[in-house]
Amino acid sequence: MNTFHADKAAAFARDVPHAHWHDTALWFMRVKRDRGAGSVPEWEKLRNAASGIKAHTLSRLADYLEEFERNAKANGIQVHWARDGAEHNRIVGGILEAHGVKLVAKSKSMLTEECGLNPYLEARGLEIVDTDLGERIVQLAHEPPSHIVMPAIHKKKEQIGELFHQTIGTAEGLSDPKVLTEAARQHLRRKFLGAQAGLSGVNFAIADTGGIVVVTNEGNADMGTSLPPLHIASMGVEKVIPRARDLGVFLRLLARSATGQPISTYTTHFHAPLRSGELHVVIVDNGRSEILGRETFRRSLSCIRCGACLNTCPVYRRSGGYSYSYLIPGPIGAVLGAQRDPVAHASLPFASSLCGSCSDVCPVKIDLHHEILALREEIRSRKILPGGKRLSMRIAGVVLRHPALYRAFGWLARSLLRAGVARVGPGATWARQRELPAAPKETFRELWKKEREEKVA
C-alpha cells in the first residue's frame, strides 16, 4: 500500500470544491478556538500550568499510576494492566465473554482504535456499536475516523444521507443534518437499550481520588454506561493526573481548544460502579513507556486529544485525515505515528510546513514542530528517507557547501522563474498549488555589496 502522505494528499486535493470546503470548515474551528481562548484572560497562564502539571506527572508516572490504582480499588473499581494492544483486547474480550455480552455500546476512544479492539471483538461474534454520531457514520461506512474530534468531517451531508438510507433504512435523499441526527438518535437509542455493556475511553484518571473522567457533547458515554451494569474504560498510562483540582485547569482548556465551547456538555466523573454493577479500568502501555524515555519526544505524551493542532495545520486542512498513514492524523499524529513505526510512517514528519502554528495552539504546549523537525533528522539518519527527498537533500548539501555552485544555482533559478518555467511541463505540476514569487531584479548578495560600497564612499 502506498503510504506516502503527498500522494494521498494529491488525491484528496483533486476534488477542488470539497478540498476547499474541508479547509474552510476546519479553519472555522480554529477561529472558534481563538474566540474561546480569547475569552479567558489567564489563558496563557493556564497553558503553562497544564504543561507543567503534565511534565510533573510524566516525571512520576509510575507513582501516580500506583496511587490511582490503590484509590480506584478502594472505590470498588477493578484495575487491569496491558503491555500492548493485543493484551488490552484479550482483557476486554475476556470480561465481556465472562458476562455473556453480545451487544456493546461504545463511546469514542482513540486508544481502542490504536489497539484494533473492534475487529478483535467482532471476530469473536460480538456486535460493537460506536455511539458517537461521527464514529457511527464512519463505522457504517467501514472507514476509520479522519479527525480525532470530528471523525466524519471528510463526509458531505448528502453522502451521509445516502449511507443512512443504505444501512439504517432511512428514506432516500435526506441531507438535512437535523433530520439525519434525529434518525441516528432513534437508531442508536435502540442499541443503547439493548446493550449489555458500555465501553468508553478516559479523558482523565485522577490519582488522589481513584476515579476517571469522560467528556462528551452528545451524552453517548453516559447513555452507554448508565443503563447496562458493566462498564469497561480503556486508558493510556499518560492519562493520569495527580489531583482532582487539576481538572479545573485542564477542563478550562480542553473544549475551548477543541471546538471553542467553554466546556463540553457532559463531563462525567466515575468513582464507583453502578449499584450491583462492575466498573473495569484497563491501563495500557503499548509503546508509551518507550516514548517516555526519549527526551526529545516525551512531551508528546502530554497530549489531551483536543484536535486543535489538526484544525490549525495548513497541511492537514488541505490534505484531509486519510492522507496520513497513522490513525491519528495531523501534527500530533505525525509525531506519535513516526515514533511508533518510523518506516511505515516515514513521510508524515514531512507533511508539515514547520510553521509552528500547532505548537502555538496546543493547550499543553507540546513543542510539536520541533519534534517534527527532530523526527525528520531521525528518519534521515536511519536512511529511511523517501528516495526523491534523499536525492534532493544530497544535491542541496553539495550546493550549500560550495559558494560558487550556490551562486550559479541562484542565477539558474531566477532565470527559470523569469522564463516562466513553472507554467509548462513538470514545473507546472509542481507549481499548481503554489504561488511562486517574482524573481528579484537584484540578489541579496548584490544589494549587500552595493550597500557596503555606498558606506565606504
Binding site: 510524566l58 494492566w81 470530528m150 453516559d222 443503563l227 495527580p242 502501555d285
Partner: protein, 196 residues
C-alpha cells in the same frame, strides 16, 4: 513478571528527573456570577431564569411548555413539580425510557461555562435519568454559583458518592458538516433555574 510490574518498571526506568508541580493561576472572577451564569447557560444552548423562591420555581416550571406537555415526569427536587413515575421504585434503569421531563437539583453552577454540578446522590436510584430523559430541568441555588471551574473543584468532592457530572446545556452534536444540532442522545432541552 506481570504486565503491571513490567509497565511500572519501564516507566520508572525511562522517567526523567522529577519536575515539581506548578502553581495554578488565579481564575477569572465575574462581578455578578449569577448574571454571567444565566448568560452562559443560554450561550451553550440552554434556557435559564432566576426565581426568588420555591413558590416562584414551581410557577416557572409550570409555565415551561415542555413541562405542560409532558406525560411522564420525574421530579427529584422536593416542591418543584411532581413525579408520574417514581424512579426509585423501578429496579431497572431501562424502564426510565420514555420519561419526558426530569427535574434535578444541581449542587453548584459555574458562571464561565453554564455548567451545573450534579452529584450522584441528587440523581436518585438510577444515574441514567439525566441523560435518558427527553427534557431536563436543573435547579441551582444562587449562593452556589461560582465564577470558574477551578473554584468549582475547590468546592466539590468528586469522589463522593462515587458519581457526579457537570452538565452544560442540552445534548448536542456537530458531527454532520459541523452543523450544530441540539438533541443528540441526551436531553433535547436543558432549562436551568437559579433559585434565590
Amino acid at each position: 513478571m506481570t504486565a503491571r510490574e513490567a509497565i511500572l518498571s519501564a516507566l520508572r526506568r525511562n522517567a526523567p528527573t522529577t519536575v515539581p508541580p506548578p502553581d495554578h493561576p488565579e481564575g477569572m472572577r465575574f462581578p455578578d456570577p449569577v448574571a454571567q451564569f444565566l448568560e452562559s447557560v443560554k450561550a451553550v444552548g440552554g434556557a435559564s431564569a432566576r426565581v426568588a423562591d420555591a413558590a416562584a420555581l414551581q410557577a416557572a416550571l409550570s409555565a415551561l411548555p415542555v413541562w405542560a406537555e409532558a406525560k411522564k415526569t420525574v421530579s427529584l427536587v422536593p416542591g418543584a413539580g411532581h413525579s408520574t413515575l417514581d424512579p426509585d421504585a423501578v429496579a431497572d434503569p431501562h424502564q426510565l425510557e420514555g420519561v419526558d421531563v426530569a427535574v434535578i437539583a444541581g449542587a453548584l453552577g459555574v458562571a464561565e461555562n453554564g455548567a451545573v454540578w450534579v452529584p450522584g446522590e441528587n440523581l436518585g436510584r438510577h444515574r441514567a435519568i439525566f441523560v435518558i430523559t427527553e427534557h431536563l430541568v436543573l435547579t441551582v441555588r444562587a449562593a452556589d454559583v461560582v465564577s470558574n471551574m477551578q473554584e468549582a473543584y475547590e468546592r466539590i468532592r468528586i469522589e463522593r458518592p462515587g458519581y457526579g457530572v457537570f452538565i452544560s446545556g442540552p445534548s448536542k452534536t456537530a458531527d454532520i458538516e459541523q452543523a450544530l444540532v441540539i438533541g443528540a442522545h441526551g436531553a433535547r432541552s436543558c432549562s436551568v433555574f437559579v433559585v434565590g
